[in-house]
Symmetry: C2
Subunit: 150 residues, 2 copies
C-alpha cells in the first residue's frame, strides 16, 4: 500500500479525523499493522500490556473472567480502540480480547501513543470523549445493578 | 493575590504540574475563582453543564438520585477535578455535587477547557489517566455487583 493510500485509510478512522493529513504520515510510518487469526488473542486479562490497537477490519469479543467462568461483555468492530487502559494507567489487561474472524489492526506502542496524543492534542480530546462515554455507560449499568440488588 | 502567587498555587495542582509556569499565567488570567458556601451546589444532577471545577480547598459530596432517594457515592477534596464529563460528552450532569464546608474552586468554562487541553496536551494526558482510573474503579464495582446478583 502506498503512503498516500495509508494516509487515506487513517483519515477515515474517527480518532484521527481531525488530524492534518501531513501529520498522519508520521503515524503511517511509525505504527505497525498486525493481523489476528480467528480465535487468536489481541490481549489476555491479567497480562501486562504496552500496546493499544485500533481495529481496521473484523470483529473481536471482549471477555472477562468471573467466578462463574469467562463471559463476553462487549463486541468490538471497525475503528474501535482497545488496550489503551493498560497504557494509560499501568494496570494489567482488564479483559481478554479475542478475534472472532480475521482481525486487522493498527498496533500502537505505549511510546507512540503518548507521542501521538502530545503531538496531536485533538486525538487526546477524542480519547477523553471515548473514555467519558464508557465511564457514563458503566456508571449507568452499575446504578441499574445496584437497584436490582437493593 | 499576585500573578506569581497564583501561578505558584496552580503549579501545586497535579493536573498542571507538568505545564511550564509561563503557560500557567494564561490559566491564572482566564480561569475564575468560585467559592461555594456549606450546602451550596457546585452542580445539580440532570442540569446541563458547561463548567468544570478544580477544588482548591474544602470538601464536597457527590450525590446520585436513586429510586430509593439521593445517596452519597463519593467525597471530593483538594485538587480533585469535577464536572468535566458534561463538558466532554454533552450530557446533563450525572451527579449532584454539594459543598460540605466552604469550598474554593477554580471554575473552567468549556471553551477554556478545550483550549487548555489543546495547548497543554500533558494536561489532556493527565485527564485521560484520571478517567481511565475512574473507569477501572467503576468496572470493578460493576463486576462485584453482578457477582452478588448472580
Amino acid at each position: 500500500m502506498s503512503l498516500n493510500d495509508e494516509v487515506d485509510l487513517l483519515k477515515k478512522i474517527p480518532l484521527f479525523a481531525k488530524i492534518e493529513p501531513s501529520k498522519l504520515k508520521l503515524l503511517a510510518f511509525t505504527s505497525e499493522r498486525l493481523t489476528f487469526q480467528p480465535g487468536e488473542l489481541l490481549c489476555r486479562q491479567g497480562d501486562p500490556g504496552d500496546t493499544a490497537y485500533i481495529i481496521l477490519d473484523g470483529r473481536a469479543d471482549v471477555l472477562v473472567d468471573t467466578p462463574g467462568g469467562q463471559i463476553s461483555v462487549a463486541k468490538l468492530g471497525k475503528n474501535d480502540l482497545v488496550g489503551e487502559m493498560a497504557i494509560l494507567i499501568d494496570i494489567p489487561r482488564t479483559a481478554t480480547v479475542r478475534a472472532i474472524g480475521t482481525v486487522s489492526t493498527l498496533a500502537i506502542s505505549k511510546d507512540l501513543f503518548f507521542r501521538m496524543v502530545t503531538e496531536f492534542p485533538q486525538m487526546g480530546v477524542e480519547i477523553m470523549r471515548e473514555l467519558a462515554h464508557r465511564l457514563e455507560n458503566t456508571t449507568a449499568q452499575l446504578r441499574e445493578a445496584r437497584t436490582r440488588v437493593s
